[in-house]
Amino acid sequence: MTFAPRFSPDSKSVVMSFSDSKTANSEIYSMDLNTRSITRLTNDSGIDTSPSYSPDGEKIVFNSDRSGSPQLYIMDKDGSNIKRISKGKGVYGNPVWSPRGDLIAFVKNRKPNFYIGVMDTNGDNERIIVQDFALESPAWSPNGRYLIFYRQQKSNLDGTGGETTIHFIDITGYNERIIPTPRDGSDPAWSPLL
């Protein structure tokens, strides 16, 4: 199974999770899109997924439960120098490096809620931007000032509820707006500047 692909900033490679069918252990690999050569970047029995390049392409932030719970780590683009950066209570996932390079957006789950926040690239200065029952999939605006994400409402046993909506918010936590969609919307992605 291959999943969680992301382009490098120069579009020359892709980083992704690959789970070997003989072990079901998800590891992070990069692929050179010209040569199709593949490099294994992680080697750990835990889950390693959701990689995201820094804007200079030199580092990768990712999600791993190698410590026993899902946390955020950074490494060099060749897989060396792995360091945990998430420090707060709760479990973390879905890290996304800002196009400006200064912040990492993330999803955090601390019962009973989910949070979307930002932290410095070394994990300092964690700041929660929005919280709700369920939040996921933060994506940066090209200027690094805004995030889009989606909210999911609670669902009921009769099948009602569970609506998902896409939202825009300033990283100060102000000026949140719903992005209208014809039906429910989820998993937004922001196009690069033209």
Partner: protein, 164 residues
């Protein structure tokens, strides 16, 4: 302006709108032309998914964020292994699932580990791996709709499905 900047991947929301899957397969069976499991409902054809569900149990459940097989899960898989030994012509797919309280990508990986835990247990119990495949559905196919622990506990599962 905003619309120009945004490329929204809009999907019909399938989690909530997906009604609980009915895993009961088949329907009325002509008892005269079918063998049945011993001591069971005579309308159930032996060696079918329905037989597995009713007489063995087609699924095991996991703790939150865990792919370890509980004692109950191991007992169910022991029974599944015996059933698969009895019906040696059956092939299966093992599905690994997660509850909705995690990110899509992490849950895909977690579902993979859960499915593999079932697969490995059955393999160690003597089931030929050529008869088995496994797949992760992450949190994308909940069995039970609802946002409470009752629903979540039923959605953190490994399901054995007869494919022939």
């Amino acid at each position: 302006m905003l619309k120009k900047l945004l490329l929204l991947v809009v999907t019909g929301f399938f989690l909530a709108s997906c009604a609980a899957t009915n895993t009961q397969q088949g329907g009325d069976v002509d008892a005269a032309s079918s063998s049945t499991s011993s001591g069971s409902d005579s309308s159930i054809t032996a060696g079918t998914q329905e037989d597995l569900i009713v007489n063995v149990g087609d699924r095991v459940f996991f703790e939150f964020d865990s792919s370890e097989l509980t004692v109950d899960a191991q007992a169910t898989l022991d029974a599944q292994a015996a059933w698969l030994m009895q019906y040696a012509d059956t092939n299966i797919t093992i599905e690994g699932h997660a509850d909705e309280r995690g990110t899509r990508e992490y849950n895909l990986a977690l579902g993979d580990k859960r499915a593999f835990a079932v697969y490995s247990y059955l393999a160690q119990a003597g089931i030929d791996t050529n008869r088995m495949e496994y797949i992760s559905w992450g949190k994308e196919r909940p069995e039970v709709v609802g946002s409470d622990e009752t629903a979540y506990s039923q959605n953190r599962r490994g399901v054995t499905t007869v494919t022939n």
